[in-house]
Symmetry: C2
Subunit: 335 residues, 2 copies
């Protein structure tokens, strides 16, 4: 099955590039609200499931043991830009568990945020694992291990108690088997398990509504949603799509990007979960589609519609600030 | 017509993302060597035609008037990384025409090369138009204007004598009409004209072989090819695909990337021109396809096959250096 065109990139009067993709929107009892393209194909959710991966941190009681703040819980769900505030909060999480940057197993990269990248260079600095966009998630894994009384060493391995609990949380939320035959290694070295989009969407419908989760799971999901809505900067960073969308929509939409064109969301008031993938892995397409689906489903006033609309179909400008084209959603997305 | 899958991106045992595209390979008399996908669709060649856009600089005699060196001619065809050497050479071109950075109309951006970006920040610097990846092409336009006795001001406009000459050179090489109805504004503010891939490939077949060009055009193309082969660093920069490929293949392949997944090449010994576009505009796909086509057509010894093969089907590693997947060409490309 060929996935349809969902986003066109225009230049002047012509379409310059095109993105295909698949979308699943599911409600809290698992019924299909919208299905576009081949949704049976397994997709690696990558960082889009960080909020589900953070559930054991709260359900286990480790977050309370260490007195994690809402900022810290938001950072545990983040693909952050490596800005100084992100680094500070990741460090604080580790310190609460009596650990430090040396325990992080995510690897090192320069800050994802351009300004943070240059600021670090301007100070004569070099990056460490705290700047890795996944450092908050990893600090959360280390808090979870320590809270359980386990040695955090090797916490990225599929056989470590942390990753076993994380896998069970993902299976519980999505209802999909997470098998080694369908697993790969993520950018930060933890396993990523490929599952079909409707399972992913169902997981986020449950995460947003609490339906079908245990009492502890429901409370954990509510606390994560609240923490992220209060600190959308922590989840991404300056100018980033997740941060901008949640600054606008607050608790009305939980959204999280993943690498390779994946995007997940929960719309709690509707009980909907959304999961989508741009075939080619392109973030600009995934972002536009997500904003387009929020416009399609979430009742918004005119001002909010205009603001989200600019994110769904952004204008593209060149280095002189001249408008040269834009992104355009196809009717498949707009409905 | 649906373009076929040309590149698969794997993670673990699965295909994570997929890229479709179209390809045209044409010989110097315009016969089709290979055609994949919808090649009638017009494509904005963007920066992939910089070498053709540089022909008037040489044919007009302006390059000789100002004594441009091979490095400078190579930079006139570049999408460079804004490294100090690129900046120095662009400045030298302008100085030879009695001009300076203030005449550049390409706009300003931070160096495209990550290391150059951070090095500039570390010095407390800020970018100027010389760091723009197109500054060499623009310096060439200014040399052309001055050599013709024209005021360079407004040289990015389609009606300026410089852009008229550039458009004529593109029409002459490709045999395709370059009309305003099919034009858009490029990142650096000059017009880009969308034409079908076979016309683009034909232009590069002529550029590589000299066949069908005037005596002056043939000499200009030969000088550009030689200059770029001698200074592949100038055309792109440290670690960049064009630079690496031409460091390997020297005068046997002229290759040039363009934005939004376009790639063009000339293989002079075969008389072939190549033009391709990844539908989604993704550079990783365009690069892999180009390296794959070179492997397919150019006779290479084992060592060279291995080196180009690594560029065609690269291994992907994560932040800890663990192999997580790779790019894989489909049989459509491999032949």
């Amino acid at each position: 099955m060929d996935n349809p065109f969902l986003v066109e990139v225009t230049r002047g009067p012509l379409v310059e590039s095109r993105h295909r993709g698949s979308v699943s929107v599911v409600d809290a009892d698992g019924s299909t609200v919208l299905s576009i393209g081949d949704v049976d194909r397994r997709v690696f959710p990558r960082s889009a499931v960080k909020a589900l991966q953070a559930l054991p941190l709260l359900e286990s009681g480790a977050a309370d043991t260490y007195g994690l703040t809402d900022e810290e819980i938001a950072l545990a769900c983040a693909s952050h830009s490596g800005e100084p505030e992100h680094v500070r909060v990741a460090q604080s999480m580790l310190a609460k568990a009596g650990r430090d940057v040396g325990c992080l197993e995510c690897g090192v990269h320069w800050p994802m945020g351009e300004a943070a990248n240059r600021a670090l260079a301007a100070q004569g600095g070099t990056p460490n694992a705290l700047h890795n966009n996944c450092s908050g998630k990893h600090a959360g894994f280390i808090c979870l291990a320590c809270g359980l009384g386990e040695d955090p060493k090797g916490y990225v391995s599929p056989n470590h108690p942390v990753q076993r609990m994380v896998r069970e949380a993902l299976e519980d939320a999505t209802g999909a088997c997470h098998t080694m035959e369908n697993s790969g290694i993520d950018g930060c070295s933890i396993p990523s398990y490929a599952i079909p989009l409707p399972s992913l969407a169902f997981g986020f419908a449950k995460f947003g509504s609490g339906a079908g989760l245990s009492a502890d799971g429901k409370a954990a999901a509510a606390r994560i949603r609240k923490a992220v809505a209060a600190h959308p900067f922590m989840v991404a960073g300056t100018g980033r799509f997740d941060t901008r969308l949640m600054e606008l929509l607050k608790e009305r939409a939980f959204v999280k990007v993943g690498a390779e064109g994946v995007y997940c969301a929960a719309l709690p008031e509707l009980g909907y979960g959304i999961a989508l993938k741009a075939d080619d892995g392109n973030a600009r397409a995934a972002e536009a589609i997500m904003a387009g689906l929020i416009l399609r489903f979430l009742p918004l006033d005119d001002e909010m519609r205009a603001a989200v609309g600019k994110m769904a179909q952004p204008v593209l400008k060149n280095w002189n600030g001249i408008e040269v084209g834009g992104l355009r959603l196809t009717p498949m997305v707009q409905g």
